[in-house]
């Protein structure tokens, strides 16, 4: 058991899979020589050589197209899109090609690839380098979507993603790269589509993802001190979605809150809220409430950015108000 940073866990997860399977290759801008601009692929060039770890031009469409074509023909590529905001320059390859080709060809073509990307805010990078865009991917049928919240989960979910025969969008949270915690030794492989209850509780269910997991846990600690026992769920995987864990928790607590980093409209919590308003309706003791970044691009200034991304205080206050009213 070693302490590992979230960023080093990315490289460890990829290395674990590259050792196991020669078909796994890595491409992206500055992923090889430089070890990634976020240092998430450090050491991989040294261990696996320039044939398996490849630096590319600034050509996101070409990168993902190459990954797709290779996946269609026997490789299992991991491709990096440096900042998740840049999915917008290659969205056609993701949403129209990678996501749809298996279906359109009635299963003739399999596209086993992983697209890893630095997602999310809190680093004062401004509106074009801070977005949380898991919800973009969730809206497109044919993409699996995961966001690990801990170094251990980075390894386990990366392994699951690489082993998946379907395309997986792997959203690393830039604000968590420096996070360090225990990661068990040996091979770690998770299953896609499983949420994890990070803290058990009886009074309210709080759903969280990526950066907001820690904030939800902090909020739950605050709430506990005022007598509210919140259950905090780390959703981990948006597609497939672990509805059962969520509905079971709601059944116990009667109240649902989502803590989303994405801006309000059609954030991932909207889908879950709509599911719960249908399938969990009779379990609900009160309104479903979503705590999200407001409907704005992210401002660059630290003071403003801190204001708008949901904080533990905001979560605690929202839950308290809802449960006390």
């Amino acid at each position: 058991m070693a302490q590992l940073t979230y960023r080093n866990a990315v490289a460890r997860g990829i290395a674990q899979e590259m050792r196991r399977d020669e078909r796994v290759v890595l491409i992206g801008e500055d992923v090889a020589g430089a070890g990634g601009v976020f240092k998430t692929t450090e050491g991989l060039l040294d261990e696996f050589g320039p044939r398996r770890v490849v630096d590319t031009p600034i050509s996101e469409q070409a990168i993902l197209g190459a990954a797709m074509g290779a996946a269609m023909t026997g490789l299992r590529p991991v491709a990096e899109i440096m900042f998740a905001d840049f999915f917008a320059v290659c969205w056609d390859i993701v949403a129209n090609q990678i996501a749809k080709t298996r279906y359109m060809t009635n299963g003739q073509v399999t596209v086993p690839l992983v697209i890893k990307s630095g997602n999310g805010g809190s680093l004062r990078f401004g509106a074009q380098h801070s977005q949380s865009v898991e919800n973009w991917a969730m809206a497109v049928p044919g993409l699996k979507v995961v966001t690990p919240a801990t170094p251990r989960d980075v390894v386990g979910l990366m392994a699951a993603a690489v082993r998946s025969d379907d395309p997986v969008l792997f959203f690393e949270h830039k604000g968590l790269y420096a996070m360090k915690s225990e990661v068990p030794d040996g091979e770690i492989v998770d299953e896609l589509g499983k949420a994890v209850i990070r803290r058990a509780g009886t009074d309210a269910t709080i759903l969280s993802l990526g950066l907001t997991v820690g904030r939800a846990l902090d909020a739950a600690a605050q709430l506990a001190s005022s007598g509210i026992e919140a259950e905090v769920i780390d959703v981990r995987s948006l597609v497939p979605l672990d509805i059962r864990t969520i509905l079971a928790s709601l059944n116990k607590t009667g109240r649902l809150f989502t803590v989303e980093e994405n801006p309000r409209l059609l954030g991932w919590g909207a889908e879950i809220a709509s599911i719960v308003a249908d399938e969990g309706f009779w379990d609900l003791d009160g309104p479903v409430q979503r705590i999200t970044t407001p409907y704005i691009p992210l401002p660059a200034a630290d003071s403003l950015e801190d204001l708008v991304i949901p904080s533990a205080d905001l979560v605690a206050a929202t839950v308290t108000k809802a449960l006390r009213s």
């Binding site: 290759v25 044939r51 490849v54 590319t56 031009p57 050509s59 996101e60 469409q61 070409a62 990168i63 993902l64 197209g65 190459a66 990954a67 797709m68 074509g69 290779a70 996946a71 269609m72 023909t73 026997g74 490789l75 590529p77 056609d92 390859i93 129209n96 090609q97 080709t101 298996r102 279906y103 359109m104 060809t105 009635n106 299963g107 003739q108 073509v109 399999t110 086993p112 049928p141 044919g142 998946s164 025969d165 379907d166 589509g193 597609v239 497939p240 979605l241 672990d242 509805i243 059962r244």
Partner: protein, 354 residues
């Protein structure tokens, strides 16, 4: 500033005419069996697409479809130059390219008709023909993307040491989209075994390529931007295509890297079924219809001593094949409703939750 439609009325731009000597390649070193095969293949494409058009008019083909009537020499010439396990990527205008690889007519036609015996069980349709078994790695309907995907197949072939070459077809209009540029640079940087084939039929949809392109030859005049040799050929002469294809494919297979080939051609009909193609100068259309790749080739075979009767026999065989395919396609069942929800995922289903 320049506005093309200030310089000429719509449809009244200068005509671009075909070559005028169809005999130029009579003496080329193309073996006769290959030539007979090229002829047959072009007829297959021609008669198949004419039938598809009829079925469209009979409202049996729904949606849209894009024919390459008049452009057959390119798909045929490349088809003949490929190894069975080579990989091809086509566009929405991909019937010919699919047949060129040996995919039988019935599943292709059935796919156009939305039947369960279609190549993709009706889920893909005319614009997305794919037959992995024949190395047809798909037809792509959004301009540009498949050039980048072709690179991936080429990379994989190289990585796996399979010796496969990838060929990627696209139109003149496609040379102006971003993905074209990214794909060409990427292929050149990594020296991928891929051949890019620009089928320059002089028009994007309804706009002459010259009006919206900065250079006269949309692909060949861009080659040097990727360190590649400029290659522009007569896309209506199957021998010129075949020989060019053979060279480029061999080069790629031998590790010589990518090529970009511009094959100039013309579509006889409109862009898609709805389009009468009225935006083209009449003399241009006429000249190109005269310079029909099948006419050109039939003339050549005749000059090379093949008698009309043997060619007629081929035509008849192909026509019979098309008839049979038509019957089989029409006889196909509608897809079972359940298939609408299958094959999103590798597990065969489309579930998004537990």
């Amino acid at each position: 500033m320049r506005y093309p439609l200030s310089e000429h009325d719509y449809g009244a731009h200068p005509a671009v005419l075909p070559p005028d000597d169809p005999t130029r390649h009579d003496g080329d070193a193309v073996p006769l069996p290959v030539r007979l095969d090229l002829y047959r293949k072009m007829q297959e494409m021609r008669l198949f697409e004419k039938r598809a058009y009829d079925l469209f008019m009979r409202q049996l083909v729904k949606g849209t479809s894009h024919l390459s009537l008049g452009m057959e020499a390119i798909a045929a010439g490349f088809g003949a130059a490929l190894r069975a396990d080579d990989l091809t990527f086509a566009t929405y205008r991909g019937h010919a390219h699919t047949l060129a690889r040996g995919v039988p007519m019935t599943p292709v036609l059935a796919e156009l008709l939305g039947r369960s015996n279609g190549l993709m069980g009706g889920k893909g349709g005319s614009m997305h023909l794919t037959s992995v078994e024949h190395g047809v790695l798909g037809s792509y309907a959004i301009i540009g993307a498949h050039l980048t995907i072709a690179n991936g197949a080429a990379w994989s072939a190289q990585y796996r040491g399979s010796g496969q070459v990838t060929v990627c077809f696209f139109g003149d209009g496609t040379t102006n989209i971003g993905a074209f540029h990214e794909a060409l640079n990427y292929a050149a940087v990594f020296q991928l075994p891929v051949v890019f084939v620009c089928e320059n039929n002089l028009y994007m949809e309804y706009t002459p390529i010259a009006d919206i392109t900065a250079v006269p030859r949309p692909a060949a005049d861009r080659s040097s931007a990727y360190g590649l040799d400029p290659v522009a050929i007569d896309g209506n002469d199957a021998d010129e295509v075949y020989l060019t294809a053979t060279t480029a494919v061999q080069r790629a297979r031998a590790g010589g890297g990518p090529s970009l080939i511009e094959a100039v051609t013309y579509r006889h009909g409109g862009h898609s079924r709805a389009d009468p193609g009225k935006y083209r100068p009449a003399d241009e259309v006429e000249a190109w219809k005269r310079y029909d790749p099948i006419t050109v080739y039939r003339g050549r075979l005749q000059r090379l001593g093949i008698d009309q009767a043997s060619m007629d026999r081929i035509d008849k065989e192909v026509a019979a094949e098309v008839d049979r395919a038509t019957e089989e396609a029409i006889a196909g069942d509608l897809p079972s409703p359940a298939t609408a929800l299958t094959e999103l995922w590798a597990d065969g289903g489309s579930s998004w939750h537990n």
